[in-house]
Amino acid sequence: MELDKVRELIDMMKANDLNELEIVDGQIRIVLKRGSAQPVAQVVAQPVALTATESLPVGPPRPAPAPEATAAAAEDKPKLVEIISPIVGTFYAAPSPNAEPFVEVDSPVEENNVVCIIEAMKVMNEIKSGVAGTVRKVLVANGSAVEYGQALFLVEPK
């Protein structure tokens, strides 16, 4: 084994705050441990995904973590992206109490479709999908509080 490889491993450990790492190659065994308890790595399902709202700063795009955190598993599953909340406020699934929700599971969405409203300081902010595809999961209950960066929907992109 070359020292350069070891050096690379050490750099990876430092960069990722690992304090333990074990690799056995024959039969494969990998153990990684970090100091502060944190998930180690997210396998990124797809390089690009978007969320947007009108007249609001756009939250950072964030692909959904694959349900199984291994590359192998991710390949078998549909790649989902999250629509995240770009603001703090109260989540409304529908434009008014008696109306139908903007979207439900299996609803098709286009990038510019409104998917929900988030009320902040008495202002109703329409949140747009930012991605075209099919809603696979609604993550937040109607009327509940959401924080910045919270995932609202999972969408399977086209």
Binding site: I87, V88, A120, M121, E147
Partner: protein, 445 residues
Amino acid sequence: MFSRILIANRGEIAQRIIRACREMGVQTVAVYSEADRHARYLPLADETICIGPADPAESYLNIPRIISAAEITNVEAIHPGYGFLAESAQFAEICRDCKIQFIGPDPESMRVLGDKVEARKLAARAKVPIAPGSEESVPTEDEAARLAAQIGYPVILKAAAGGGGRGMRIAHNEMSLRVAFHSAQTEAASAFKKSDVYLEKYLEQARHVEVQILADRAGNAIHLWERDCSLQRRHQKLIEETPSPALKADLRDQLCKAALRLAKAANYVNAGTVEFLLDKDQKFYFSEANTRIQVEHPVTELVTGVDLVQWQLRIASGEPIKLRQKDIGQNGAAIECRINAEDPANGFSPCPGRIERFFAPGGPGVRLDCHVHAGYEISSRYDSLIGKLIVHRRTRAEAIACMKRALEEFEIGPIKTTIPLYLEIMSHRQFVKGHVDTGFIERTW
């Protein structure tokens, strides 16, 4: 008393407010930016809520997000800490409009004291001495030159909306004044969105001495004695102490009474600080007023035994001050060192990065207000203050000895901190004698 408040700040002051609330049985909602997600004080709050990315404009300075967080968490009040929105009269006003109690003074008091020109006028009316200077902000270079000639050099130009040393320029003659006038205006405009500057006589070898006050809505107002914050670098305080080694009893008394007069004149409510400059002839002049809790409040807490943050909450919730002036003692001496992630040997340049080694001092006389620990990542986005080491002993000499040994025990690495500089200061003949002024650190290091 409130049952639930929101803390619109981060770091050691957010932790300080959480501690006060826990001891009072008040629930807390802590907001945080994505950069502070792993802060160890967050789990000590009853609820936490992410309000935005690391950029302060998108989180700790973002009024809609903070108000929105307060609304969805149903808090009765907001504590702004220091920095960020703490001195924003606009924020205090929005809180009032939203029926959320701002834990601080009324927006009207904040506005008059926040405008340095207005504050000077108010001080003059309250018979608080002010340094010779312009009555209004100075509109033109020529007007500044005319005034300076009348007052006599050196003079100092200050931003009317200023604070934290920005927008300040000292001029020793007309030529330097004319240059400084424009740079001060530009800096004021960029820092405070208001280019107004005013001009004052510059006091050489002056000490910075400030008075802590507490005032309630029922009209009770007390002072909690002074703090000497003469150890500064570029107008930023590094070491604070109380009592001031420069004050005799009668001067101390005059200073504290002047501070109370100004507070009354401004209809001040809650905790506040009136800052003075004390010149080499023992004359004092009003400098500015801070309408919030100060970084250096612990030294006052230690010698008076009064928890200032707890009183901020009580006053804001409408309780009257039950402390009587005659019961507020100055017991012993207290010193605070601000531990900054900066390299004093390299122009105090900030040293963000990960703390690998962290061993805190302890034992008798030592208080540590610190939110960092081994494994903590210091973000370059925020202030370099990573903690405050405060000591309390029976005498100033004992407090210096205690601070010295506590600094020697304190190990933070591999990032650089101001600890080595403070160790030198604690042993410096002039500091030990108490003979320092606001230029001491810059002249000596």
